[in-house]
């Protein structure tokens, strides 16, 4: 591995101490049964219950628009900057572009993240980009790109959904022309259990095949037009389960809309009172 001269380098042999803790001898099935007992999850929620959302704009002082979202323990900061010329582009493009960068802070997950974007972060960036492209009026700024950054400070599940919702708020507060409000929600499925807005552990357990059917579904919805701006699924699911989850997730996304609206109204009011 090449040496990074731009940072202080750590010894290469460093390993997380979690690897040497007492081994968890429980089978995955038992672990999952612990995560949901008698229809109640570890944090006391019902399977269909969403965590409380806290949304705030204007977190980043010198950004055009920014938003901070707290969804349970998951904390994400997003910021949006003025449109700028697309670098290294010679031909004219009719529609503006959105550049998304999604990053986990090194300390945000149980395992330490590296400073460079890894493949999961790149995938999340791509999903975010596609989700946001459908709601931004890109023909309003041809030949320009808008930068959207998301930084996960604390990942306790559903980080991508939280980032998409917050990025929508940041774009709106930056005054970027948009068709609609965008909200997003995650669903973790394992066998007959469908857990809305999963936390980190639930998300992790749903990605492993304990039952035949398992998976994680992310849905991004535009609120007034009722359109799916992006849908992403992993795992192994039957068609029926997926169509059902689309409907239920759609409703959850609708429930988030008032929170977003309230936050945006608040930010507009504060701008008015300032001037």
């Amino acid at each position: 591995m090449p040496v990074d001269h731009k940072r202080i380098n750590a010894p290469e042999s460093a390993v997380p101490y979690k690897l040497f803790t007492k081994l968890n001898t429980e089978s995955l099935k038992e672990q999952y049964q612990k995560a949901i007992r008698d229809g109640i999850r570890v944090d006391g929620r019902k399977p269909s219950e969403h965590r409380k959302i806290f949304l705030k704009t204007g977190i980043v002082a010198h950004a055009k628009g920014s938003a901070y979202i707290e969804q349970g323990n998951t904390k994400v900061v997003t910021s949006v900057f003025d449109p700028r010329e697309i670098p290294n582009r010679t031909d004219y493009c009719l529609k503006g572009e959105i550049y998304c960068e999604f990053k986990f802070a090194p300390f945000s997950c149980p395992k330490r993240r590296l400073h460079q974007q890894d493949s999961q972060e790149k995938e999340c960036s791509a999903i975010m980009k596609k989700a946001l492209e459908a709601v931004v009026c890109r023909e309003e700024f041809p030949n320009f790109q808008v930068d959207v950054y998301a930084l996960v400070l604390h990942n306790d599940g559903s980080a991508l959904s939280a980032a998409v919702t917050a990025a929508g708020v940041a774009l709106a507060s930056a005054g970027i022309p948009m068709f609609d409000i965008i909200t997003s929600s995650t669903l973790a499925i394992q066998g007959e259990h469908s857990l809305f807005d999963p936390n980190f552990r639930e998300e992790l357990l749903s990605e492993i095949a304990i039952e035949k059917e398992h998976g994680v579904v992310i849905l991004c919805v535009t609120s007034t037009h009722q359109q799916i701006s992006h849908f992403h699924q992993t795992g192994n699911l039957q068609l029926n389960t997926i169509t059902q989850s689309i409907d239920t997730l759609h409703n959850t996304c609708k429930e988030i809309v008032p929170v977003v609206q309230k936050c945006l109204v608040k930010s507009v009011l504060s701008v008015i009172s300032e001037s």
Binding site: K6, R7, I8, N9, A10, P11, S13, A14, V15, P16, Y17, K18, F20, T21, K22, I59, V60, A61, H62, A63, S66, N73, K75, V77, T78, S79, F81, D82, E101, K103, A105, P106, F107, S108, C109, P110, R112, H115, D147, Y149, A150, L151, L153, H154, N155, D156
Partner: protein, 273 residues
């Protein structure tokens, strides 16, 4: 009109304000911005803190890992600070490898910790020559508005104060480690260095400058103190500063150091309860 004037003639705009002994954000020249400290809100890390100095926000998370020590210092662990200035925090930064400023701040922070001797690396040793702790202190700037060093030092020290390391049973004969997560101990901090940034604008000294003030000023320097003792003065170039002025700044920093230390203690107590 005010905004346009500010953009078109920033220096004149500032000079007009400062000649009347007031700064555009409403502060007097020798006033600091409010400081906010929050400790331990990120439980995926082994220690964390958020520091806010005015509109500058820095979050620090510390992750502990196990590794073998260097041959030349077999009884010392590692503390590796790293300051990240992501494009998220200001339009000044672009995606890619760390900017020059991030590298400077990282190195400065490492030097402060090392030279002030506020943190003894020997306490990170588990087994001589075999096993030590390595603390990765990652500092991320979320919002950039001047006096970055101040916020970084507060965040780092706050996070270090909240670090709890589990006990490790190590058998050097068979290289077997067992981590006992139920028993955790705080690390020892010998003292808390506090950094204060100043800027020179014409002949005036601005305390705790914002980003705009730093850009317009002829020189920016910072003073680091630990419990009334001077640790470092960092003044990279710019216009010269008189001894009298510097002594004055050091005196002011002394007072500020005490208040901020108290602030960190209060935040720490809040976290524990």
């Amino acid at each position: 009109m005010d905004e346009q004037f500010r953009i078109l003639h920033p220096i004149k705009y500032y000079r007009d304000h400062i000649n009347n002994h007031i700064r555009p954000d409403g502060r007097e020249l020798n006033k600091f911005r409010p400081v906010l400290v929050n400790i331990g809100s990120i439980n995926t890390s082994d220690g964390s803190a958020l520091a806010k100095v005015g509109d500058t926000t820095v979050i620090c998370g510390i992750k502990a890992e196990l590794c073998s020590p260097k041959v030349e210092s077999p009884d010392q662990g590692f503390l590796i600070p790293n300051v990240e200035l992501p494009p998220l925090c200001s339009s000044k930064f672009k995606p890619g490898p760390p900017s020059e400023e991030a590298q400077v701040v990282t190195q400065l922070l490492a030097d402060i910790v090392k030279n002030s001797k506020c943190f003894d690396l020997k306490q990170l040793c588990i087994c001589h020559e075999k096993l030590v702790w390595c603390l990765f202190a990652d500092l991320i700037c979320i919002s950039y508005d001047g006096s970055l060093m101040d916020a970084c030092v507060i965040a780092l020290m706050g996070a270090l104060k909240s670090v709890q390391l589990p006990l490790v049973d190590y058998d050097p004969a068979i290289d077997n480690k067992l981590v006992n997560e139920e028993q955790k101990n705080f690390v020892n901090i010998q003292g808390i260095p506090i950094c204060t940034t100043f800027s020179m604008f014409d002949k005036n000294i601005l305390y705790d400058p914002t980003q705009e003030e730093e850009n317009l000023s002829s020189c920016t320097f910072n003073v680091v103190l630990m419990e009334d003792k001077l640790c470092s003065v960092h003044k990279p170039g710019g216009t010269p500063i008189s001894e009298q002025n510097l002594m004055e700044c050091i005196e002011v920093s002394k007072q500020r150091t005490n208040t901020i230390c108290e602030l960190i203690d209060i935040a720490l107590k809040k976290n524990k309860t």
